[in-house]
């Protein structure tokens, strides 16, 4: 029986900070004691492996290709997820699943298979998701998706209950997001209790970004976008140069809880918790 929630993070364009946000949120929930799984379904440009500096032996690509199939219809997921809870000193659990950054694997998923194969792959993904909730008793499953309207971003969004559109405040991002909402989000939230929300990220020109409180500029943006796109803006994170241009991105929310970015991640986590 599935009682946990599946949260997918998506964006119209790349570079919105989606992976940084999802990784920090997942780690924060695990730090608070939840059992969380984060899967890298940005199959066309995976980055979670590099983010966590992991080189797994089994990737999500193997799951999709059917290499982990079992006769019962379940998948052998034992080697597919990596538990990083103890090395990060988390109170709860953080399980990670990576997709392959190898060129052959990326082209394989994008170009080498017909629709029938792709449909089988989606079914394996759904079966794996059910197993995560039933066997691993996961509270929250986070899915990092590919930006834009692509085959595997649609599939990943369809499998989730809560969709988060991460966007910047540029005109191009706003127009693109609006179009994408009209094109696919209405269908993707038609069944069950699926809902979508907006997260504003890298908001520029914020005068006071030290605490959890939103700046007047952020409130104005949220109100405008809520009206324009027609859904709730659930989070706002100002632009922090030290995070955006740090040599190695990592889990600020865990390692530097006093950093203003971390405070905003806590704020976002609390706001999302009320929606779960």
């Amino acid at each position: 029986m599935i009682s946990g929630k599946t949260l997918a993070f998506h964006s119209y364009k790349g570079g919105t900070g989606k992976t940084t946000l999802i990784a920090n949120l997942a780690a924060l929930y695990a730090m608070q004691g939840k059992k969380v799984c984060l899967l890298d379904f940005d199959l066309y440009a995976p980055s979670l492996g590099m983010y966590f500096r992991k080189k797994p032996t089994v990737y999500l690509n193997s799951l999709l290709r059917g290499e982990l199939d079992q006769p019962s219809g379940e998948v052998d997921a034992s080697s597919l997820v990596t538990d990083v809870s103890s090395e990060l000193g988390l109170k709860g659990k953080l399980l990670l699943g990576f997709s392959s950054p190898n060129r052959d694997d990326i082209t394989d998923i994008e170009f080498q298979h017909d629709q029938k194969w792709q449909l089988k792959a989606i079914k394996r993904f759904q079966s794996f998701k059910n197993q995560l909730f039933e066997d691993n008793m996961v509270d929250c499953l986070f899915l990092d998706t590919s930006p834009g309207i692509r085959y595997w971003s649609i599939n990943t969004l369809a499998i989730a209950n809560m969709l988060f559109l991460v966007m910047k405040t540029s005109d191009m991002d706003i127009e693109g997001t609006k179009k994408m909402v009209n094109d696919i989000y209405d269908v993707l939230t038609r069944y069950g209790k699926s809902k979508y929300f907006i997260i504003l990220n890298k908001v520029p020109e914020i005068s006071n970004s030290n605490g959890r409180q939103w700046d007047a500029t952020e409130i104005a943006w949220a109100e405008e976008l809520q009206k324009d796109i027609g859904t709730q803006v659930v989070g706002s994170v100002p632009c922090f140069c030290d995070i955006q241009f740090s040599k190695h991105e990592f889990l600020f929310a865990v390692n530097h809880p006093e950093h203003p970015f971390s405070k905003r991640v806590v704020d976002l986590a609390d706001r999302i918790s009320t929606l779960l």
Binding site: M1, S127, G192
Partner: protein, 291 residues
């Protein structure tokens, strides 16, 4: 794309156990304490509420708040039905605490079966085709002052009124609290008997408890009589599927009762509502070729 829910069960799993349409029935539900009779009766009432059939729940062991709370924990949210007056609790519990009850139908002396009968009639007022659950005969017997004959008459009257309105009702009893003669009497009063039992299997890995139910008898309907495993889940009572069916969405074998939906005129079986929703979303995106 047309999507319809399969017609809801009359009682949990009835569509698996009864062939064709189930006639309106008063069912005796027999099983030891803790087996799942109470959640079975709550599931039965809630199924009715969602199909537009009002429900009356008589409890000797729980306050109205506790009933509503425990139903909510299984996803059976009764608030709307309480507010529109189609879900009513006959409270035979709160007399112990001076009738401090949120129910309009609270009895100060449930030991008097005539007043219980009147409270049930009052709760039935202005309602049609009402489902009724009595939880439980055992609880009522422990507090009432009457002899066996009087108690039988009390039950016979409720059953007759249920039949007269073509409604469904369940009456719960724990057999270990009564003698054989009383249990035989009871089986005669009702239209059918549903039995529940626990099976404990021991092997090297330890003990495994399995809940089973069977429809021992049911007047006017062809039904299966074999013991069927069931589970108390987050969604209430679920019967295990008898044959091997695979979920259309995740391809796994469906271990429990499948979630069936009719999509574009065809029946599809799913492992869960999650799988059904994902399937419908993807089918809307990719069209009927998504099979």
């Amino acid at each position: 794309m047309g999507v319809d829910m399969k017609q809801a069960d009359v009682f949990p799993g009835s569509s698996k156990l009864v062939e064709g349409r189930m006639p309106p029935s008063s069912l005796l539900v027999v099983g030891p304490s803790g087996i799942g009779k109470t959640i079975f009766s709550k599931h039965f009432i809630y199924n009715g509420l969602t199909c537009g059939e009002p429900g009356i729940y008589l409890s000797t062991d729980e306050s109205p708040e506790k009933i509503v709370g425990s139903m909510r924990s299984f996803g059976f949210d009764t608030e709307t039905y309480t507010n529109n007056g189609t879900f009513r609790v006959v409270d035979c519990y709160s007399w112990r605490i001076g009738c401090k009850s949120s129910s309009t139908y609270c009895l100060s002396n449930p030991a008097d079966l005539a007043s219980v009968s009147m409270a049930i009639d009052k709760a039935r007022q202005n309602l049609n085709n009402t489902r009724f659950a009595l939880d439980s005969i055992t609880g009522l017997m422990t507090i009432c002052n009457h002899n066996l004959t009087f108690f039988s008459k009390f039950l016979q009257i409720i059953v007759a009124k249920t039949r007269a309105t073509n409604s469904n009702a369940v009456f719960l009893v724990s057999p270990e609290a009564h003698d054989q003669v009383f249990m035989s009497y009871l089986r005669e009063i009702f239209d059918g008997t549903l039995e529940m039992r626990m099976e404990i299997k021991k092997d090297e890995s330890g003990e495994e408890m399995k809940r089973l139910l069977r429809l021992f008898s049911l007047k006017g309907a062809k039904h299966k009589t074999h013991w069927t495993p069931f589970e108390i889940t987050n969604d209430g009572i679920l019967l295990r599927s008898g044959k091997e069916i695979r979920c259309v969405m995740c391809s796994r074998q469906i271990e429990w009762e499948p979630h069936v939906e009719v999509i574009d005129g065809r029946e599809y079986s799913f492992d869960s509502t999650e799988c059904a929703n994902t399937y419908k979303k993807l089918r809307s995106m990719y069209g009927p070729s998504f099979e």
